[in-house]
C-alpha cells in the first residue's frame, strides 16, 4: 500500500543540511513537520542523500517517541500524564477522552480528525491536569471539562 509521496518537499528540506548523519534528527523533525509523519519513501530518500543505512533511520524513528510512521489526525489530543497531572487525576481524563473519541492511546479516529496521545509532562504542572489539543493548552481539566474541550474541535 505504498501511496505516492511527493519527494520534492523532502528535497527542499535536505538542501538546508550539509553535515551528514548528525543532521538526521533535525531532518526527520522537518520532514515530520511538513508531511505530518515520516513516509517510508522519504525514509529511503533521506538514507540515500545522507549516505546512511535505512535501518539506521528506522532505528532512530522507532527510538524517539516524537516520530510517527503513520499520518496523524487533524488535531492531536495530548493528555499530560506527568507526575503532577497523575496526582491530580490525569488517568481519569485519559479514560474520558478514550470513551469520547473511541480510540486507544496512539490511535486516530476513523474520520481522521483526532489522534489521541499521552505525553510525559509538558511542564505546566501547576495547571494540572493538562490537555493539549493542536497547539491550544487547557489547564485544570476537571471532571466534565473534557467533553467541552473536545466539542470545540468536533465541528470546525
Amino acid at each position: 500500500m505504498v501511496k505516492k509521496v511527493d519527494l520534492c518537499v523532502a528535497e527542499g528540506i535536505l538542501k538546508k543540511y550539509t553535515d551528514g548523519v548528525s543532521d538526521l534528527i533535525p531532518v526527520l523533525q522537518d520532514v515530520q513537520e511538513a508531511y505530518g509523519y515520516i513516509p517510508e519513501p522519504v525514509l529511503y530518500f533521506i538514507a540515500e542523500r545522507l549516505n546512511i543505512y535505512p535501518s539506521h533511520i528506522f532505528g532512530v524513528i522507532t527510538f524517539y517517541s516524537q516520530f510517527k510512521q503513520k499520518p496523524a489526525g487533524k488535531y492531536i489530543v495530548k493528555v499530560c500524564v506527568g507526575t503532577a497531572c497523575h496526582v491530580k487525576g490525569s488517568e481519569r481524563v485519559s479514560r474520558e477522552i478514550h470513551e469520547l473519541l473511541k480510540v486507544k492511546v496512539g490511535g486516530t479516529t476513523d474520520d481522521g480528525r483526532f489522534t489521541f496521545e499521552e505525553v510525559a509532562c509538558v511542564g505546566a504542572c501547576a495547571q494540572a491536569p493538562m490537555v493539549i489539543v493542536g497547539s491550544d493548552e487547557y489547564g485544570k481539566v476537571v471532571h466534565g471539562e473534557v467533553k467541552k474541550v473536545i466539542k470545540k474541535y468536533q465541528k470546525s
Partner: protein, 630 residues
C-alpha cells in the same frame, strides 16, 4: 532598570505569558486587554513576561503607573480585566478586590496604601531569587531589558579581565554543584575539561528536562533565556570551547521559540560569534531539539542524540570531559547551573557561598506541585526544610486534607513522609533518607495518593523510557513493574516485598546508566516508609487511599453524611442514591454501579466518604453502619 521601573512615563500593563500562564487563559486575556486599551484610547504599553512563579494565581496581570509601585493582580479573567484597567490605569486606583500585592518601593516609587508587599507574602518570604531574578520581571525577548538589569556584565568582566583558570577558581570557590540532580561540583567539572587534551572542545547545555513533574528549566528558558546564554559564554571561555549546543526538549515549544530569538539577538549585539567584545574569543551556540526520549538527559545518551544516533548511553569512563561529542572533550551542564554562573561572577564566590549549607551552597529552584495550596516555581536557599517549603511557602495541603508525602527527584527519586519532613534540602541529607535532590520536581501528595500505585506510576515511566541497552534496566524494571501490577490487581502471593527489595537492589547495582541505577528508588523508598500500606495491599488486598480500583470500594459514612448532594451530582454513572436534603437520607454508593473513579471521594467537603478493601464479602452499608457504631 529596577523592579518598579520608575523610569517609565507610560503606564505599563504586564502579562505573564509563560506556558502555565497561557494554559490558564493568558492569551484570551491579552486579546481583551489589547481591545480595551484600543477602544478607550489608553496610552499604555503592554509587556509580555515569563513566569514569576506564582502559578496558583495565574493568569497574572501587573500594572505599573509612572513613579508608582508595580501592582500584581491574580486570577485575572477576561471579564474583570476592563474593570481593573479602568480603575488602575485610568484613575490610578488599584482595584482592591483582585489585587494580590505590590513590589517593595526600594527605588523611590510611591507605594499604594493598604496593599501587601510582594516580597513579604508567605509565598515569597522564604525565597531567595538568584536564578529566577529576572523571570517574570523582564521581557524575555528583549536583550536590552536583560542588559539593563546587569545582563552580560559578567561575560564582559570575564572576557576582558579574567583568565580561564581564574573563572574556574571563582566557580569552584562558590561551591556551585550541578543542578541537574547529581550535584557534581561545577568548577571541578570545568577544570577536567579545561585540562583535557584536544584541539577542539565542546560545551553543551542540557535542557532536556524530562522529569515528569518538573518545569524549572522551562521557566528559565522561557522567562530569561539570556542568563543561560551568558552562563554558556563564560563556561565556553573557561574550558576553551568555541562551539556550544543547547539540547532542548521539543515538548517545550515556547522555550524553543524564545531561544531561537535570543541567540541571534546576542549575535547582533556582538556577544556571540567571532571576536566577542573585541577580545578575540570566538563562541557560538546552536540549538538541537530533542525528539522525546527521557534517557537523553543522561550525558552520553544526549551526545549520541546530537550525533544523530539513537540516544543510548555508553559506559563511563571515558568521561565526556575527555571523550565527548564527536570524540572531543565536552562539558555538559544543566540550564539552572548555567543560569547561576553570571550572578556568581558578578557578585563573587563568597557572596554565593553565603547561601545554603556547608556542602550544598547557593539556592535551588523547585517546581512545587501536586495537592498543595500554592503551586508554583520557587527558589529557596539550600538547607531550608521540606516542611517550610510545603507549609510556609506552599501553604499546606489543598482542600484541608492531610499531608502524606512529598516526592523529590521524580522517577529517580524517593518520597519523604511526614515523620521526617524536617529534613533539610541538601544533596547528602536527601540521599540519606532515600530520596534525591533531583532536578527540582517536588510533588506533594495527600491521603488520596496510594504509595503502591505511585511506585507503579514511576516504574511504568522508567520501563517505558529504558533505552533497552543493558539487561538489568530493560528486564529488571519490567519485572519490578509486573510485581507492582500484580499487587495492585489483588493477585499478590505474599513474598512480593522481599522480591522487590532484592530485584530493586540488583537493578540499582548493575545498570549501565543513571536511569536504571535510580529507577528502583521510588518503590524502595515507598516500601521503606509505607510498609504497612504495602502489607495491606498484599495480605488484606485492600487499598486505604482508594486509588487501586481492584482493591477498594467507596463507602459513605451514614452518620456523618451532611446530605449536601455534592457527591450525587458529581457521580458520572449515577451510582449514588439519596444524599440530598430532599431525600433526608444519607448518600449510599451502589457498589455494582460504581466505576471507582473517585470523584465522590475527592469532592466530599466533609470527608465522610472513605474506602475499604473490596475483598471482604460484607454488605457495604451494613459494614459502614457497624463501623460507625463500633
Amino acid at each position: 532598570m529596577t523592579k518598579n521601573e520608575t523610569m517609565t512615563n507610560k503606564p505599563k500593563i504586564i502579562l505573564g505569558m509563560g506556558t502555565c500562564g497561557v494554559a490558564a487563559g493568558a492569551k484570551a486575556l491579552l486579546e481583551k486587554v489589547e481591545g480595551y486599551i484600543k477602544e478607550k484610547k489608553i496610552d499604555a504599553e503592554i509587556v509580555h513576561v515569563g513566569c514569576i512563579g506564582m502559578c496558583h494565581e495565574e493568569p497574572l496581570l501587573d500594572i505599573v503607573m509612572p513613579k508608582r509601585t508595580r501592582v500584581i493582580y491574580g486570577k485575572v479573567t477576561a471579564d474583570i480585566v476592563s474593570k481593573i484597567i479602568h480603575s488602575h490605569v485610568q484613575q490610578d486606583k488599584p482595584e482592591k478586590e483582585h489585587v494580590l500585592s505590590q513590589m517593595l518601593p526600594d527605588d523611590g516609587a510611591n507605594p499604594y496604601p493598604g496593599i501587601p508587599y510582594y516580597e513579604e507574602m508567605p509565598f515569597n518570604r522564604k525565597q531567595q531569587r538568584i536564578v529566577l531574578k529576572n523571570c517574570g520581571f523582564i521581557n524575555p525577548l528583549s536583550i536590552d531589558e536583560y542588559i539593563a538589569r546587569d545582563g552580560y556584565e559578567s561575560a564582559r568582566k570575564v572576557l576582558l579581565s579574567m583568565k580561564p583558570e581564574e573563572v574556574i577558581d571563582v566557580v569552584k570557590r562558590s561551591g556551585l554543584r550541578g543542578r541537574g540532580g547529581a550535584g557534581f561540583p561545577t568548577g571541578s567539572k570545568w577544570e577536567f575539561c579545561r585540562k583535557a587534551m584536544g584541539d577542539k572542545k565542546y560545551l553543551i547545555c542540557n535542557a532536556d528536562e524530562g522529569d515528569p513533574g518538573a518545569f524549572m528549566d522551562r521557566s528559565v528558558l522561557e522567562g530569561d533565556p539570556h542568563s543561560v546564554l551568558e552562563g554558556m559564554i563564560i563556561a565556553g571561555y573557561a574550558i576553551g570551547a568555541n562551539e556550544g549546543y543547547i539540547y532542548v526538549r521539543a515538548e517545550y515549544p515556547l522555550a524553543v521559540k524564545h531561544l531561537k530569538l535570543a541567540v541571534p539577538h546576542a549575535r547582533e549585539n556582538g556577544l556571540l560569534g567571532k571576536n566577542i567584545l573585541g577580545t578575540g574569543f570566538d563562541f557560538d551556540i546552536e540549538l538541537k531539539q530533542g525528539a522525546g526520549a527521557f534517557v537523553c538527559g543522561e550525558e552520553t545518551a544526549l551526545i549520541a542524540s546530537i550525533e544523530g544516533e539513537r540516544g543510548m548511553p555508553r559506559s563511563k569512563p571515558p568521561f565526556p570531559a575527555n571523550k565527548g561529542l564527536w570524540g572531543k572533550p565536552t562539558n555538559i551542564n544543566n540550564v539552572e547551573t548555567f543560569a547561576n554562573v553570571p550572578q556568581i561572577i558578578l557578585k563573587g564566590a563568597e557572596w554565593y557561598a553565603n547561601f545554603g549549607t556547608e556542602k550544598s551552597r547557593g539556592t535551588k529552584v523547585f517546581a512545587l506541585t501536586g495537592k498543595i495550596n500554592r503551586t508554583g516555581l520557587i527558589e529557596v536557599p539550600m538547607g531550608i526544610s521540606l516542611k517550610e517549603i510545603v507549609f510556609d511557602i506552599g501553604g499546606g495541603i489543598s482542600d484541608g486534607k492531610a499531608f502524606k508525602a512529598v516526592q523529590t527527584g521524580g522517577p529517580s527519586g524517593g518520597c519523604i513522609p511526614s515523620e521526617i519532613i524536617d529534613t533539610p534540602v541538601e544533596y547528602e541529607t536527601l540521599a540519606a533518607v532515600g530520596a534525591i535532590m533531583g532536578s527540582g520536581g517536588m510533588v506533594v501528595m495527600d491521603n488520596a495518593s496510594c504509595m503502591v500505585e505511585m511506585a507503579r506510576f514511576f516504574l511504568n515511566f522508567t520501563t517505558d523510557e529504558s533505552c533497552g541497552k543493558c539487561v538489568p534496566c530493560r528486564i529488571g524494571t519490567k519485572r519490578l513493574l509486573e510485581i507492582l501490577e500484580r499487587i495492585i490487581a489483588g493477585k499478590a502471593k505474599g513474598n512480593e516485598m522481599d522480591i522487590l527489595v532484592e530485584l530493586g537492589s540488583t537493578v540499582k547495582a548493575a545498570s549501565l546508566c543513571g536511569l536504571g541505577q535510580t529507577a528502583p528508588n521510588p518503590v524502595l523508598s515507598m516500601m521503606r516508609y509505607f510498609k504497612d500500606e504495602y502489607e495491606e495491599h498484599i495480605k488484606d488486598k485492600s487499598c486505604r487511599a482508594g486509588a487501586c480500583t481492584a482493591l477498594s470500594r467507596y463507602i459513605v459514612s451514614p452518620d456523618t453524611c451532611k446530605m449536601c448532594g455534592i457527591c450525587v451530582k458529581g457521580c458520572p454513572v449515577d451510582a449514588i442514591s439519596d444524599g440530598t436534603k430532599k431525600s433526608k437520607k444519607p448518600a449510599f454508593i451502589h457498589d455494582d454501579k460504581c466505576i471507582r473513579c473517585g470523584i465522590c471521594f475527592e469532592k466530599c467537603p466533609f470527608d465522610v466518604i472513605y474506602t475499604k478493601g473490596a475483598k471482604k464479602a460484607v454488605h457495604a452499608k451494613e459494614e459502614a453502619l457497624g463501623e460507625v457504631k463500633a
